[in-house]
Amino acid sequence: MDVPEHLKYAKTDEWVKVDGNIATIGISDYAQSQLSDIVYFEFKVDVGEEARKDKTIATVESVKAAADVNAPVSGVVVELNESLNDLFETINTDPFGAAWMVKLELADPSEVDQLMDAAAYKKYCEERGH
């Protein structure tokens, strides 16, 4: 299981990368492996829309389940990774890279501090089993 050091993680298995006031969001390697083969991806927000913390920003559908992707932090949507509409398989193959999902302009940077760091998330995943 891959848990990059430089990212922050939410209990609902999203990762956040912060660059200045821009937060990039995706789902973790653990999440994609639990879901197994992704067969569909859909955004639930548009650019310019406000995404509050814990609001659904996308849904992922695999052969096993349909899961919501929630905003781990609040902010205005500035960019969507539209390539995922067709190339949703990259969520399985490159969850921390090509499969980033949404970029937000952070509304409250302190929300980032409430997220887990890599070590804490790793432990959190191990507790739940693989």
């Binding site: 067969v39 569909y40 859909e42 639930k44 849904t59 559908e61 695999s62 389940a65 349909a66």
Partner: protein, 448 residues
């Protein structure tokens, strides 16, 4: 019985609504009516029950004895005897969609073929395994449009020429959604679709029209579809499947969703049901539709097989976020439609449609020439038309019934503006003699 709530959950829910016990929920019903003493006569033997039921059944007037000119959404067509005989085979005789492909290949294949037939008739890409009836299928179209726009578009426009019962069911379905506006059908019923265009705006989720419309009229709605799409809205069309064997398909004219009543396809009138709702969409919307879908695939050994597919849309996986909670289909009636269309074939179904078309045009021409009766619509129609009558439709129908004729639909019941207007349907079941007899009987009432 399956009770999904634990005693603890029941307790919590009772507390939330402020009621002490389950019995407390029924306090609004006066005690004497809760468990009334039933004053039943002594039991009957089977022989006596059969005789009693037969007597009651004989009190019905049915289309077997009457010449039927009543349509308005349900139509009297010939159903080949083979439909019923195949339908009642034990292997098929279930109302439910099968979950297990290992033991259900026959049923799954028949649903797949049903879907293929509906796609062919409507000019769409995908059909689901069916809904309860035409009205609920139309309502599911609205639910889908709502979710397609994530609730951000709140206006639903219904043409006044859509079956009044469908509009009512759609409103009931959409009742629980907050802030929706369902409108467009307040205006003059016989206006053309162009009258709706000023209502279509960027907040419009869906426009629902009917083809042929409730008054039987047929027109090319391609331009109207373009106007709907200019505003980014979806166009839903409720269509008559028999008519689709003859007319240009709604898909070819730009419909995004095509729904309708499948009863004309081999399902008897049966005093109002059970019927069959069909529901088809363009491919873009396949993940948003309600109901079950059967797909074709290959098994581990490469043999052709059929399975339920795209089920992650459905409520057992997506729970409260699913577009719809309806997964039930009318399996048996969808099978009836499949057998019916298969037996008739492409040419046979078209022949039925042509017979309906020609016979109804003959009837319209004759009735229009009776003094006092007037054809309201001068343009194209399929197998139904509106006649302005010299008197009250109820009285005319009573007179017709005395002569063994089931008259047309009284449009004044739904449209106050159309008092004294009758909607007459003619199908392949109406012989020329029957039509002539209808005209003669109507003529007796042409002068007050």
């Amino acid at each position: 019985m399956f009770i999904p709530h634990s005693p603890k959950e029941t307790e919590e829910m009772l507390q939330a609504v402020g009621v002490k016990s389950l019995e407390g929920l029924f306090e609004a019903v006066p005690k004497t009516f809760r468990f009334p003493k039933l004053n039943l006569p002594p039991g009957l033997t089977e022989m006596e029950v059969v005789e009693h039921l037969q007597e009651m059944a004989d009190a019905n007037e049915s289309v077997r004895e009457l010449a039927c000119f009543l349509g308005a959404g349900a139509y009297h067509h010939y159903v080949p005897a083979a439909v019923d005989s195949l339908l009642r085979r034990g292997e098929f005789y279930t109302a439910y969609t099968p979950y297990q492909p290992e033991i259900s290949q026959g049923t799954l294949q028949s649903i797949f073929e049903y879907q293929s037939l509906i796609v062919g008739l409507t000019g769409m890409d995908v059909s689901n395994a069916s809904h309860y009836d035409g009205a609920t299928a139309a309502a599911e179209a609205a639910v889908m449009a709502y979710h397609h726009f994530r609730g951000k578009r709140t206006r639903f426009i219904l043409a006044p020429s859509v079956n009044p019962q469908y509009r009512e069911v759609l409103r009931t379905y959409m009742n629980g959604y907050e802030g929706l506006e369902v409108s467009g059908d307040e205006g003059a019923p016989l206006h053309s679709l162009e009258e709706l265009e000023p209502l279509i705006d960027m907040n419009t989720a869906m426009v629902l029209i009917q083809y042929p419309d409730f008054f039987g009229r047929v027109s090319d709605f391609s331009n109207f579809a373009a106007k709907v799409h200019q505003a980014g809205a979806l166009l839903a069309v409720s269509a008559n499947p028999t008519a689709l064997a003859l007319l240009k398909s709604p898909g070819a004219m730009g419909a995004d969703i095509v729904v309708g009543e499948g009863q004309p396809l081999g399902i008897p009138l049966s005093f109002g049901g059970p019927y069959l709702g069909f529901f088809a969409v363009k491919k873009d919307f396949v993940r948003k539709i309600a109901g079950r879908l059967v797909g074709e695939t290959v098994d581990a050994e490469g043999r052709r097989g059929f399975v339920l597919t795209l089920t992650a849309r459905e409520q057992h996986i997506r729970r409260e976020k699913a577009t719809s909670n309806i997964c039930t289909n009318q399996g048996l009636l969808a099978l009836a439609a499949t057998i019916y269309v298969s037996l008739l074939g492409k040419n046979g179904l078209r022949q039925v449609a042509e017979l309906c078309y020609h016979k109804s045009h003959y009837a319209a021409e004759r009735i229009g020439s009776i003094p006092g009766y007037e054809l309201v619509h001068q343009g194209g129609f399929f197998h139904e038309f509106v006649v302005k009558c010299p008197q009250n439709v109820e009285d005319i129908n009573a007179h017709l019934l005395d002569h063994g004729i089931l008259g047309g639909y009284d449009l004044g019941r739904d449209y106050p503006q159309l008092k004294d207007h009758m909607l007459i349907a003619v199908t392949e079941m109406n012989s020329k003699d029957e039509i002539d007899y209808l005209c003669e009987t109507l003529e007796e009432l042409s002068h007050d």
